[in-house]
């Protein structure tokens, strides 16, 4: 009797692990939960999606948003975009990097360089964006989340739900709309139904805005949003694949070890009435 109760208690404790703190998600429209390739236990990044997302980032987002923790060399790392080293070298060379140690104070980029920020200072960024600061993208996908309705947060611990950030970005990108008549939007802001009001960022995406090399992929706002969300997740967690792969090995070894320890324990205690 105690056992059943105590086990229930243990489960309840485990379930309450970091009970549902607040959502950084908002109380606008019901969020749509996408089926991400990197979700769940076996999920991995789709390198084609990451490459498309990178293209959207580079051609659209990077005009205002920095990604200070990302280096060019990260783009050729395994488990990510999988560009070749020569591709990355050529890409980096397209950019001019401010470097006081260089002859003219600047030089062309190399793979070891960080992704160049669009604005030199925070003040420059604010001046160019109506006073608002476009947040850095490096870990932004982990700094946002979407709350599941009801008791969904309990499930999160068992399915290892880590895709709140990309779900947030996707919903934000796809919910720009005309403001309802009863909603007053301040000058210089734009209505976003998911954000639940006015947001300083103008609708960044539009159908056909970015031309994908692969003609079979639809060039729609929705597709761009999905691809760039996936890319942002990669930026925040570039080694997700390696982490999960190691995790499987660790779990298998630990489980096998636990079984061996159980058998050892049983054998050892078999001569003790306990």
């Amino acid at each position: 009797m105690i056992k059943a109760k105590t086990i229930l208690m243990a489960i309840a404790l485990a379930g309450l692990f970091s009970a549902p703190a607040n959502a950084s998600g908002t109380a606008g429209v019901e969020p749509k939960f996408s089926d991400w390739t990197f979700g769940g236990l076996f999920g991995t990044y789709d390198e084609h999606q990451l490459q498309r997302g990178f293209q959207v980032f580079r051609e659209v987002c990077a005009a205002c948003h920095s990604a200070n923790l990302i280096s060019f060399r990260n783009l050729s790392e395994e488990g990510g975009l999988n560009y070749s080293e020569s591709q990355v070298k050529a890409l980096a060379a397209e950019y001019t990097i401010a470097d006081p140690a260089s002859l003219d104070g600047e030089r062309s980029g190399i793979p070891a360089d960080r992704w160049p920020a669009p604005f030199a200072t925070e003040q420059d960024a604010r001046d160019a964006n109506n006073g608002a600061l476009p947040p850095d993208f490096s870990v932004l996908a982990k700094a946002r989340t979407v709350q599941r309705p009801g008791l969904g947060w309990i499930m999160n611990y068992f399915i290892a739900y880590q895709e709140g950030g990309p779900d947030y970005v996707y919903n934000l990108m796809t919910n720009y709309a005309e403001a309802p008549h009863d909603v007053e939007i301040p000058a210089g802001q734009y209505y976003n139904a998911f954000f639940g009001g006015g947001i300083a960022m103008a609708p960044p995406l539009a159908d056909g805005l970015v031309t994908y090399d692969d003609a079979s992929v639809p060039m729609t706002t929705e597709q761009y949003a999905k691809d760039v969300s996936a890319f942002m997740m990669w930026m925040a967690e570039p080694h997700l694949i390696a982490r999960k792969e190691l995790g499987f090995k660790v779990l298998i070894i630990l489980s096998a070890f636990a079984v061996l320890m159980y058998l050892t324990k049983r054998k050892l205690w078999s001569n003790v009435k306990h």
Partner: protein, 418 residues
């Protein structure tokens, strides 16, 4: 000790070891305390959490020492240095993930350990000092975990530091100077981050020292056990090694499975998304929420939102907050029942489980916004928390008729259905 199985003095055969042992009897000591130490043979798996906790402390210290080699305690650099560890340091993301998840696992294990002690009366004579040392360890753990959470210098780090240090400002007269002394300035800033880093490195070793006292105090009366009846002779006990060690190792390896699950498959799920935003003193997060393991006490702190006579609500909250843990020091004298184990105390047992539910309710409420029904529930749950210790335990222990106790552990074991 009378119950020792192999009570003759340990004498190493090897002449070099013998020479050493005659001068510093480290080997004899180890044999007495880690091999021969008589352990009740009826311990259940709730007793394996002591070893699990020792492992947790070890894991935190080892991973923490490595993290300190790569971390920079400066307001401009701390946040990115943690990301540097995750991205660029060899094995960094595993070590950092283990340390962060490890804090949660540590607290999960310590709560199981404490509630096991509460149910089986582990605080009763002659183990009062053992229990009180445990409460000191718990307090030190809370301080260490809190300061560690500040180090990544995210938004929750910063605002947790602000809210929690603010608690001291409630102390009459000296509150304000104490607050400035703790923070090293008028607000949480670089000085705060630096001293928290220093103390976060120091305290685990203080914990390790108190753990040794805790184990010393355990080895005087020996382990309690699920019957609460002390071992009578060597038929009631088994040597610590290999019996308890192998059983503990089995429990440890099972414990490591969910641990690894979080580290490798959901390293951020126990944290808060806002802590991936660098600390900003100009932007207050909409909800400031501590880590899950502080939630019950945070709920108690917030529950006192009214003045009590001349005590204003802020100081009142702090008194109840501190009292909720300090009251554990008095537990051995609040519960006067001669029977240790909850298994033989029909009334106590019910109230024990109600208390567990109350604690879980407080944990839930600590995560909710302080508004509407949550505020009322938090007040009720807080009142019950103190009622349990101050009224229910003293009264129940006086009026309850315990079930008959077995005369010995062996008798209890034999009476168990196979």
């Amino acid at each position: 000790m009378a119950l020792t199985h192999n009570s003759e003095k340990y004498d190493p055969k090897n002449p070099a070891l013998k020479w050493f042992n005659d001068r510093l009897p480290l080997l004899s000591f180890g044999k007495e305390h880690f091999v021969d130490f008589p352990t009740p043979k009826n311990l259940n798996y709730w007793w394996t959490f002591g070893m699990i906790l020792a492992l947790c402390l070890g894991v935190q210290i080892v991973t923490g020492i490595i993290l300190a080699m790569h971390f920079t305690p400066h307001v401009d650099l701390a946040f990115n240095s943690v990301e540097h560890i995750r991205r660029d340091v060899n094995w960094g993301r595993i070590i950092q993930g283990t340390h962060a998840v490890g804090a949660s696992m540590f607290f999960f294990a310590v709560y199981v350990h404490i509630f096991r002690g509460l149910f089986y009366g582990s605080y009763k004579a002659p183990r009062e000092v053992l229990w009180m040392l445990g409460v000191i360890i718990f307090l030190l753990m809370m301080a260490t975990a809190f300061m560690g959470y500040v180090l990544p210098w995210g938004q929750m780090s910063f605002w947790a530091a602000t809210v929690i240090t603010n608690i001291f400002a409630a102390i009459p007269l000296v509150g304000e100077p104490i607050l400035q002394w703790l923070r090293g300035g008028f607000a949480v800033d670089n000085a705060t981050l630096n001293r928290f880093f220093s103390l976060h490195y120091l305290l685990p070793f203080v914990i390790a020292a108190v753990v040794m006292l805790h184990i010393w105090a355990l080895h005087i009366p020996g382990n309690g056990n699920p019957t609460g009846v002390e071992p009578k002779d060597s038929h009631d006990t088994v040597p610590f090694t290999p019996y308890a060690t192998i059983k503990d190792l089995f429990a440890v390896s099972v414990f490591l499975i969910p641990f690894a699950w979080f580290v490798f498959f959901a390293p951020d799920i126990l944290g808060h998304p806002d802590n991936y935003i660098m600390a900003n003193s100009q932007v207050t997060p909409p909800h400031i929420v501590p880590e899950w393991y502080f939630l019950p006490f945070y709920a108690i702190l917030r529950a006192i939102d009214f003045n009590i006579l001349f005590i204003d609500s802020k100081l009142g909250g702090v008194i109840f907050f501190a009292g909720s843990i300090l009251i554990l020091f008095f537990l051995p004298w609040l519960d006067v029942s001669k029977v240790r184990s909850g298994s033989f105390r029909p009334m106590f047992r019910i109230f024990f489980w109600v208390f567990v539910l109350d604690f879980l309710l407080l944990m839930y409420l600590g995560a909710q916004p302080a508004e509407g029904i949550y505020v009322t529930l938090a007040k009720v749950a807080t009142a019950y928390y103190f009622l349990h210790f101050l009224v229910i335990l003293p009264v129940v222990s006086r009026i309850e008729t315990p079930k008959p106790l077995p005369t010995s552990i062996s008798e209890a074991v034999l009476a168990k259905p196979a």
